[in-house]
Amino acid sequence: MIRVTRSAEAPAAVAQPSLRFVRHTGIAAPFRQPNLESELIAPVGVELADLHAVHLDPDTVRIEPHPHDGSWTGQHAFHGFRYRPDGTQNPDFVLNKAPYREASILIAGRNFGQGSQQAFAVIRLLECGMRVIIAPSFGPVFHDDCFDFGLLPVMLDEQVVSRLTNRVRANPEIEVTADLARQVIERPGMTPLPFQIDPRRRRSLLQGKDATLDERLEHRDSAEAMRERDRRLRPWIYDGPDRREP
């Protein structure tokens, strides 16, 4: 089955995610399986190859609709949970149930996104509408990737996440708010839950751009001076006059 086609005229239906995150309110869905590998969020197989193709060549690659539900964006996150082996939807999976179908906040288990998928776990989650992931801890590479794509990872104590989960399960239709500016998770009738986040990353998300760039640029003169000195001290690591052109 070749599902990737290259097309000169039709650009791929790829949502360019906003890198800015200030505040978001939406339905929260609890899916608390611990140590959930990024491989299970963005499964390996035909769809992963497709996604890679679009990512590398967004202007000319178009993906044909998924045979199960007619879409390709979004529905493949958590594929192994979402679908049964015969391709039909699994009604027991949380994101297949109302009102969680509309969820944009995921309440996850510890070490969420362990392993690494070259950011595709994050892309998959964004494409199925997620804007916030709340978990006791995250896989390190997944956590880094979140900030590159404007997905907010919120780390809270295991007990706090469990309490939030219980409240959400009792009244799933009541929306949850993640406020990055004030660093709190809120829900009507619940004491706001404060969370910690790296100040550089918070600033970057609030501004919708890499705020560390300015910080790095501040030191540009020192960096350039150091590089110049290094060119003299370690000329062999740079393309010098004796380096034959490939």
Partner: protein, 495 residues
């Protein structure tokens, strides 16, 4: 440079040290806070301290799999720094089919890559190795193999197995956004703590570097390296070939450390000598003299020390769903009820997913596929070792797939020059083109659903090689032996 030249120059290194610019040595010797290689290199690269343990570091090499970051920034009119520190290898998405050079529909990403490569070269990004380039391959094989990864460097990339390069005596990590590096040639990074893993004892027959690192992870745990930069040391590591050291450092990230290192020595310099981007003849002596100042000092202090005794350790294979689930080939599949309390849930999940029975031997477990490739163990020495096992034998008829995917075009060419391809093909293996392939499946090469695959790669997470697939991690020779047996096999009976 030939090996002979290297030996000649290294003899004179003692004199050269004194002739070398003092400032760089002074920087390394006084600033390496506690004498570890990691700290010496880190400190020599600090542009500015940004408060606490967070530093702005100069980057010496940055690798990217796709040219998109570069080209997007160029189109935005952003001024880019130091193009010569970059190299691009689109390894994850190319096809490994022998038809990839003629069939345009195979693989993905490379088409766009080829369109951009010329433009990139004009901008000074000369090291863009597309799938048609003889230097193409898996980025973690290509870097050292072309001499781009050298001792004393700070190297970063997006891919998590960037820790592989640390075996050259440099410090490296994945998860960096190359666009950020392109703009300033620097990264912001929190200084990790340091850990030394001393590998001691005697390696038994048939034991390879992959067995050493699987044993290490099984002993220490998949989260043991969190927050640490790891140095692998001890007599066994010193005696390993350079290629074997890559296999060790490759799995550092599987113990949750983004950085794995080995202090450089003559094995390292000898490996590097004569490679395309290695220091030229003109700078070689100077470079070696500098590299000799890098190794961890005898009195260095690490934040944590661990010792792994390899005496009596058998070939290792994994039974479960993470690299920590490694056991000796003659051990039995563990019983979750007997497992440490905090691991019971994972053990139960692993037993359920892997469809294995606790208490049964792992040896002889039937398999469906085997895979030899990946950034762990796909270099020429690995292929030679595998070929020695399969020569004159046949892959079991019950296997649906047995692939050999060389780590790079150069490895493939070398293997073919030695006739290894014919050995593999005669045994019934499929001899493929280079790339990441079935280790991860983002190019569309994946293990069939429900199949059990013995693989020399680095991850056996649920679904890593494809949906509902069971991955048995093992050394390259164990994979080769298992292919012949049609089940998980003890390589020592094939030696």
């Amino acid at each position: 440079m030939k090996r002979r030249d290297f030996i000649r120059t290294s003899v004179g290194a003692g004199i050269l040290v004194s002739a070398y610019p003092r400032s760089l040595f002074a920087r390394l010797q006084t600033q390496g806070r506690r004498g570890t290689m990691f700290e010496k290199i880190w400190d020599a690269h600090v542009v500015a301290n940004l408060g606490g343990e967070t530093d702005l570091l100069q980057v010496d090499r940055c690798i990217d799999g796709s040219p998109n970051q570069v080209m997007r920034l160029v189109r935005e009119g952003v001024e880019l720094q130091n193009p010569e520190i970059f190299y691009n290898v689109p390894d994850h998405t190319v096809s490994t089919s022998p038809d990839r050079y003629t069939d345009q529909s195979l693989g993905s990403g490379w088409q766009a890559y080829e369109e951009l490569a010329d433009e990139m070269k004009e901008l000074g990004f000369t090291k863009a190795f597309g799938q048609f380039d003889p230097r193409f391959g898996i980025m973690h094989v290509v870097g050292p193999e072309t001499g781009l990864s050298q001792p004393g460097m700070v190297l970063c990339a997006g891919d998590s197995h960037t820790c592989t390069h640390g075996a050259m005596g440099l410090i490296s990590w994945g998860g960096e956004n190359s666009g950020n590096v392109l703009r300033t040639g620097t990264v912001i990074r929190h200084r990790p703590k340091t850990m030394r893993v001393n590998i001691v004892g005697q390696l038994g027959p048939g034991i390879r570097a992959k067995d050493v690192i699987l044993r290490t992870i099984a002993q220490l745990g998949t989260d043991s390296g969190t927050g640490y930069a790891v140095e692998y040391a001890g007599p066994i590591v010193r005696a390993l070939s350079q290629e074997a050291r890559f296999s060790i450092c490759n799995l550092a990230v599987e113990m949750a450390s983004p950085t794995g290192t080995v202090s450089p020595d003559d094995t390292t310099y000898e490996y590097l000598a004569g490679r395309e981007f290695a220091p030229s003849q003109r700078y070689w002596d100077q470079a070696v003299a500098f590299w000799r100042t890098l190794p961890t000092e005898d009195d260095a202090v690490f934040d944590r020390e661990e010792t792994i005794d390899m005496t009596g350790v058998e070939p290792q294979v994994t039974w479960g769903i993470n690299p920590e689930h490694a056991i000796g080939i003659n051990e039995r599949i563990p019983d979750p009820d007997q497992a440490p309390t905090n691991k019971r849930a994972t053990y139960r999940q692993a037993i359920e997913y892997s469809r294995l029975t606790p208490g049964e031997p792992i040896l002889g477990t039937p398999i469906d596929e085997v895979f030899i490739g990946s950034c762990v163990d796909s270099r020429i020495s690995d292929l030679r070792a595998a070929a020695a096992i399969v020569e004159g034998r046949r892959v079991a008829s019950t296997l649906t797939s047995a692939w050999v995917v060389p780590g790079s075009n150069a490895v493939k060419a070398q293997a073919e020059a030695e006739g290894l391809d014919r050995v593999f093909k005669a045994a019934g293996f499929e001899w493929r083109e280079s790339g990441c392939s079935k280790c991860y499946g983002s190019n569309g090469d994946y293990v069939e659903p429900g199949h059990r695959c013995v693989s020399n790669s680095n991850r056996n997470y649920i679904g890593r090689q494809g949906r509902e697939t069971n991955t048995i991690l093992a050394s390259t020779t164990t994979v080769a032996a298992s292919a012949i047996a049609g089940s998980i096999a003890d390589v020592r009976t094939f030696l």
